[in-house]
Amino acid sequence: MRYLLKRIGFYLLAAWVALTLNFFLPRLMPGDPATALFARFKGTLGPEALEALRETFGLTDAPLIIQYFTYLGHVLQGDLGISVAYYPSPVLDVISSGLVWTILLAGTAVIVSFIIGSLLGVAAAWWRFGRIDTIMPPLSALLGAFPYFWLAMVALYIFGFQLGWFPLGHAYGDGVTPGFNFAFIADVVRHAFLPVGTVVIATIGGWLLTMRNTMVSVLGMDYVNLARAKGLSPTRVALRYAARNALLPSVTGFGMSLGFVLGGSLLTEIVFSYPGQGYLLVQAVRSQDYALMQGIFLIITFAVLGANFLVDLVQLWLDPRIREATS
């Protein structure tokens, strides 16, 4: 329990750092984003919009500390300001319209990649110097070297444009009605296949290598030799005895790489015009929609913090040492 409280405290601190960064960024940087924006949208925004923009950034004449607490209060109420790119929608509405797609895409990709990669790592270590062990590590190092979004471009070109096996973009086609019906779900899967696939291919090598390396050292341990000597089936020794313990560093790495994978998946969304946070982010960058940009940064950070907490729970469940050390 103390362990969990400590972790929660840490995530709250990280969230506070992100919030504070978010507050100070527009104030530290040269120029006033609200005025700059207003100048860019001359004619299309009314004078009350300038006030709204200033309000968005909290750029009032009040002392900094008051501005800061006003800002924190707004964020806690879910008020992240007004989007310029999607004027006059509130940032929170714009973000939540894309959140489910990002979670679907990045979540599926990260889990599929973790499972397949770790299993391949187990196989590589078990049949050491075998076919998987010789081919996969360099191959995945090569694939991992490509930028995610470039793999996405190639996949889209070959399987979408040339072969026509998959749609060229978006999360679902015009012909289906969103809802819990087979046609819609099948269409969503068809649209998600390429983006998920490219992220999986780009990230699988990391899991494979981590798992392989820990697995190799775990396989040399006495208790594994004992399990073998007892005549247990190889599958049982490999998965229940060795892999279970070798999984720990991978799980730790899982939490840490989430942010990184998410970054790559955001770029992949752009290539596929997938309507998630990455796509919104690019719209925000193009139209200098700072409020939206910062809102996305906050939401993504919170999501990653939350996911990391889940990883902590898993770790607590997997590793009795953490439980015992803190109980």
Partner: protein, 316 residues
Amino acid sequence: MSGRRHSAIAGLAAWADAVRHDKRAAAGAWIIGFFILLAVFGPLIVNDPNELVGMPLQPPSAEHLLGTTGQGQDVLAQLVVGTRSSLLIGFSVGLTVVFVGALIGVTAGYLGGRVDAVLSLLFNVFLVIPGLPLAIVIAAYLPAGPLTIGFVLVIAGWAWNARVLRAQTLAHRNRDFVSAAIVAGESNWRIVTAEILPNMTSLLVSQVIGGTVYAIGAQVGLEFLGLGDVSAVTWGTNLYWAQNDSALLTGAWWTFAPTGLCVALVGFGLTMLNSGFDEITNPRLRLQRAWRAYLIKRGERPGRSTPVVAAGEDHA
């Protein structure tokens, strides 16, 4: 990992020799060497990359070996000129993140106590905040250009190095040779720079290489988003324009394929160089390989054993 200190030149020579003998490291070194030469001399050879040389989106031909872009510029010229700034930013960010990481990580690990607690908290927070969105938010406020890109990549990337170097410093901190130095009354600065850091040389080198791989990839990503100077010619902006000109949906693969291949080749080369270094600086890995080769030569099937390295033994 003996505590012996070679002179810098002898050390470099030993590494160069080892790189030559390790197949992977040698391949990596050739790839990286090629791209460095391309970055240095390439721009002198090819034409002006911004010049409009023909019709837009022409496929590769004898005249334009890699075709033309959506604006009618020569893709090959853009690729070659882009190499320079991409590598330059990559290596400088790689060096800087390790420098910052070492400064903070080694300080935390060496001083311990409250300093360690605060600094560890700092890099752990930066590790858990997603890097790319952070980099994007900061970059959006700064004037577009290579300096901005480099700056945000360092902000988003130093924490990992700090964490690893702190752990490594902690491990060295309790070694006898450090205790001896403390007893001998050496200053903290001297202990860190003369006793601890030299023992982490291989780690530092591999971190610089890893940092460079990170920097090149992330830089291309940021520029692809349009956060770079879109009028400059770099690998990232090449991809930005390819995407912007809908190269994909018109089937113009030559506008994006070569750039991505170059990014990947450089990343792959650096990774190969790195894994080669691993083997050079980790005698156990090297022995394992030698032992296996020996067994195979004798016609036996290598098992799962890990050879134990005796002090002073050298089989490679």
